[in-house]
């Protein structure tokens, strides 16, 4: 049995990585739940955002926390363009999975072409910065990541719940025709939502660059976990992914502490399978 300090530390790191899962799941879940599109290229955009942060902060010498100022507007536009294309070609829920798989492969190739398949690591002074709380270390970057994920989830929730745009969005998910009859334009809302989702991918990308070593194949590393997070959290609910993400993050890191690190994927995927088989109505 590992020591209490080790357990506490893995609890903390599970909590923080849960923030990242929540952030990734937020963008994926929005488009799946509200646009009925399964956007696999979300993961590719996250990695693209991470490499852009690496480029801007590492090579051009920008402060990494300022890179989203450049990345987010660009990604917002990219998301809008993608949604326009999906709409133009009448991509449905099922074919979206295949089309965005294709987009993912293309983006992966672009990343590999520009930055090669070698590992890349963004060296910043923030990487080693951490706060001591009793016997535990709290890395600052990851704490900020969790805070940002929480803030964005709450903001999105409030946006969908209290604003007219958000209400129109939820109405057009329930019944696009009726919503359209009441003056909601599902098409324009979808463009906005897709832009926001892509912007979240950009934000997540910055944190991925700050916390992890980058490689193009990392795109596929999170797919399973984040799908589990989105489905466990409940589709279209912006707070769900964060809660489920933290839950999965903690259970993964405890598995790593108690058993071997290589057993960790079993937790999330088994949960995902169980939810799919036992509670398919959630989706």
């Amino acid at each position: 049995m590992p020591s209490l300090t080790l357990l506490g530390q893995s609890l903390v790191s599970g909590l923080f990585i849960g923030g990242l899962y929540g952030l990734l799941g937020l963008g994926l879940g929005l488009s799946w739940g509200l646009l009925r599109l399964i956007n696999l290229s979300h993961f590719a955009l996250v990695l693209l955002g991470a490499y852009l942060t690496y480029q801007l902060a590492g090579t051009a010498g920008m402060n990494p926390f300022l890179t989203p100022l450049l990345i987010v507007p660009g990604f917002f536009l990219l998301g809008v363009v993608l949604q326009w294309a999906f709409d133009f070609f009448r991509v449905n829920e099922f074919s979206s999975l295949l089309v965005t798989f294709g987009i993912t492969v293309v983006i992966e190739s672009v990343i590999q072409w520009v930055w090669t398949a070698d590992f890349r690591r963004l060296e910043t002074p923030y990487a080693t910065l951490s706060v001591r709380a009793g016997p535990l270390f709290l890395p600052v970057t990851e704490m900020v990541m969790l805070l940002v994920a929480t803030a964005l989830s709450l903001l999105t929730w409030a946006w969908l719940r209290f604003t007219w745009v958000g209400k129109g969005m939820r109405a057009s998910v329930e019944d696009p025709d009726i919503a359209a009859a009441f003056g909601v334009s599902p098409r324009r809302l979808a463009l906005l939502l897709s832009g926001v989702g892509a912007a979240y991918a950009g934000v997540a990308g910055t944190f991925v660059a700050l916390v992890y070593t980058l490689a193009p194949s990392q795109i596929y590393g999170w797919i399973g976990v984040v799908f589990a997070v989105v489905i466990l959290g409940g589709l279209g609910n912006p707070l769900g992914p964060l809660v489920a993400g933290i839950g999965i993050g903690i259970s993964e890191s405890l598995t790593m502490a108690v058993a071997e690190p290589s057993w960790a994927p079993l937790v999330s995927f088994t949960l995902l399978i169980l939810v799919l088989v036992l509670r398919p109505d959630r989706i």
Partner: protein, 579 residues
């Protein structure tokens, strides 16, 4: 052709040529095996890597750890993969919601679970498995030739299996499942069993392919085996070539493999991958049926424009008359009897607390046209769904010849001779009219073989006046033609009881007259009819007896003219003030 391919090693080509050709056949076999379940039935699996990997590790473990001769490990690899697939399918295929994208995600998750288990147990343990010491059976001069010939053999087996499946009952059923699984079941397709069989066959082939690939790569690792590449490529290849055609995946696999390995070496490999990705996008957007979707569309009926409605009525009428003239003498005039065909006893069904059927008792008598009427939401369609087996009743019995149907699966009920139509027509959208109707003849109570069913189907299409559209797709029909297609499909199964769910709704008065004539003719040929309808004039005109449903309960029963005067019935339709 197979012999010619197998004879290539005799020409003593350089080893890299044999390796390249092996890879082509490897992907042909893998993509084709995927299509047998996923392409045909529409259950896109993203977990093909799991079954491929199961075969790979089975062969590797048996050969390395237990010293089993390599050729003997291949059937074992197939069987292990097939058992894995059937085990997963036995659970997953029972859950109605797990179709389409959810099935894809689930199978992907299974891949990662399996990878984690293999990595952390003695099957692999982390470092991978070396097969360098495993003796390769010497069929040809070199090891490379032998592996190549094994690759060709399994590819031919896979393509042959796909060809046989597509032409067989299994294939017909799988195509119907892909278009509308619920309708397929109610028409008599044993959907659960068919999916399991197809999954088992698909996984068996993938397992054998994996076993051969283990000896080809000689070094088996978890990261390579269970990577996302296998599902990505098989889906891409099959969709590109045409996942609904037995030869489609082979064409797609050849194309993609050649493209990928044409760019080998250095930075060009990236370009190859990007081209693969772009191809996938382009195919989904512009060619959703794949290359074979373009070629394989034999559609002579397409150029014939739909005749205007007036002409159509005449055509249907004449079809009916000619049938009546030829068959009328042979078939004795049928009419209502007092013998019960189906008896419902205390049938109850609730949805989340709403009691849709609150204990319904009535009988349908052999040879009669029984009208079932009631206001919207009274439970009529639920009753049809319960009798045809789509819903299981919470309580009660539905007896056909004394046999309880209440807990039988839909396809068995269809096999006993109960057919239905849908209020909103649900034809199989990607099958021609002829195939739509033929399917009913093959799987319903009639259980005909393919050729016979097709002849019957043509007869019934003629009967409803759609003979000239036999090779059209249902999407090209207007509403009343689609309603008549529903009728033809129900009739082709040779039913004893036909449940007609609002066949008249949405039709013009002229079309209603045409439809009523058809219903009478159906009864004359010996079928019993449950006729659900809102148009009272039609009910009074047509039916021998009427039962009235309100709030899930039977409130009246009797001769149509008497029933519609009963105060309870008037109250249910118009409110108490009028009763």
């Amino acid at each position: 052709m197979g012999l010619a391919l197998a004879a290539i090693p005799a020409l003593r080509p350089p080893a890299f040529v044999e390796s390249f050709l092996y890879l082509v056949f490897h992907w042909i076999a893998l993509a084709t095996s995927w299509t047998i379940l996923s392409g045909f039935s529409g259950y896109f699996s993203f977990g093909h890597g799991a079954f491929f990997g199961a075969g790979m590790y089975t062969a590797a473990t048996l050969a390395v750890t237990f010293g089993v001769p390599f050729l003997w490990t291949l059937p074992a690899a197939g069987v292990v993969a097939a058992l894995l697939g059937v085990g997963i399918g036995a659970v997953v295929f029972r859950v109605r919601r797990l179709r389409g994208e959810l099935f894809a995600l689930l199978t992907l998750a299974v891949t990662f679970v399996l990878a984690t288990i293999v990595l952390n147990t003695r099957i692999d343990g982390g470092p991978g498995v070396f097969l360098a010491a495993v003796a390769i059976p010497r069929i040809f001069a070199s090891a490379a030739s032998t592996i190549y010939v094994m690759g060709v053999a399994v590819a031919l087996a896979a393509v042959g299996a796909a060809w046989i499946v597509q032409g067989a009952r299994l294939g017909r059923g799988l195509f119907a499942i892909a278009d509308d699984e619920d309708v397929a079941e109610v028409l008599g397709v044993p959907t659960y069993r068919f999916k399991l069989v197809a999954f088992g066959l698909s996984c068996f082939l993938a397992g054998v392919v994996g076993g051969i690939h283990a000896i080809f790569v000689t070094y088996v690792t978890v990261a390579e085996t269970f990577s996302i590449t296998v599902p990505l490529y098989v889906v891409l290849m099959s969709v590109l070539g045409g996942a609904r055609h037995w030869l489609g995946p082979a064409v797609g696999a050849t194309f993609v493999t050649v493209l990928t390995y044409a760019f080998v070496g250095g930075e060009w490999a990236v370009v190859g991958r990007a081209v693969v990705g772009l191809t996938l996008i382009a195919v989904i957007l512009f060619l959703p049926q794949g290359l074979f979707g373009l070629i394989g569309r034999r559609r002579p009926g397409r150029s014939v424009p739909a005749p205007p409605a007036g002409e159509r009525t005449v055509a249907a009428g004449s079809g009916l008359l000619s049938e009546a003239a030829t068959d009328g003498s042979a078939t004795a005039q049928r009419g209502p009897t007092s013998r019960p065909l189906v008896r419902c006893e205390g049938v109850r069904k609730a949805f989340h607390g709403v009691q849709a059927l609150a204990g319904v008792d009535f009988e349908i008598r052999e040879g009669e046209i029984l009208g079932l009427v009631g206001p919207n939401g009274s439970g009529k369609s639920t009753l049809v769904n319960v009798i045809s087996g789509y819903y299981r009743p919470d309580a009660g019995r539905i007896l056909l010849d004394g046999r309880d149907l209440a807990h039988q699966p839909g396809h068995r009920i269809a096999g006993l001779g109960i057919a239905r139509t849908y209020q909103i027509p649900r034809p199989f959208p990607r099958l021609t009219l002829l195939d739509n109707v033929t399917l009913a003849g093959m799987f319903g109570g009639a259980a005909l073989d393919g050729g016979q069913a097709e002849r019957e189907a043509r007869r019934w299409l003629d009967f409803v006046g759609l003979a000239d559209r036999a090779s059209a797709l249902p999407t090209e029909l207007n509403l009343h033609q689609r309603k008549f297609l529903e009728l033809a499909r129900a009739l082709a199964s040779g039913p004893r009881l036909v449940l007609l769910d609002e066949v008249l709704s949405g039709l013009t008065p002229a079309e209603i007259g045409e439809a009523l004539a058809l219903v009478r003719e159906i009864r004359r040929r010996g079928a019993t009819i449950l006729f659900i309808e809102h148009i009272m004039r039609a009910v009074v005109d047509l039916t021998d007896r009427v039962v009235v449903l309100n709030h899930g309960q039977l409130i009246a029963e009797g001769r149509p003219r008497d029933v519609i005067r009963q105060p309870e019935v008037v109250a249910a339709y118009l409110g108490k003030a009028y009763a």
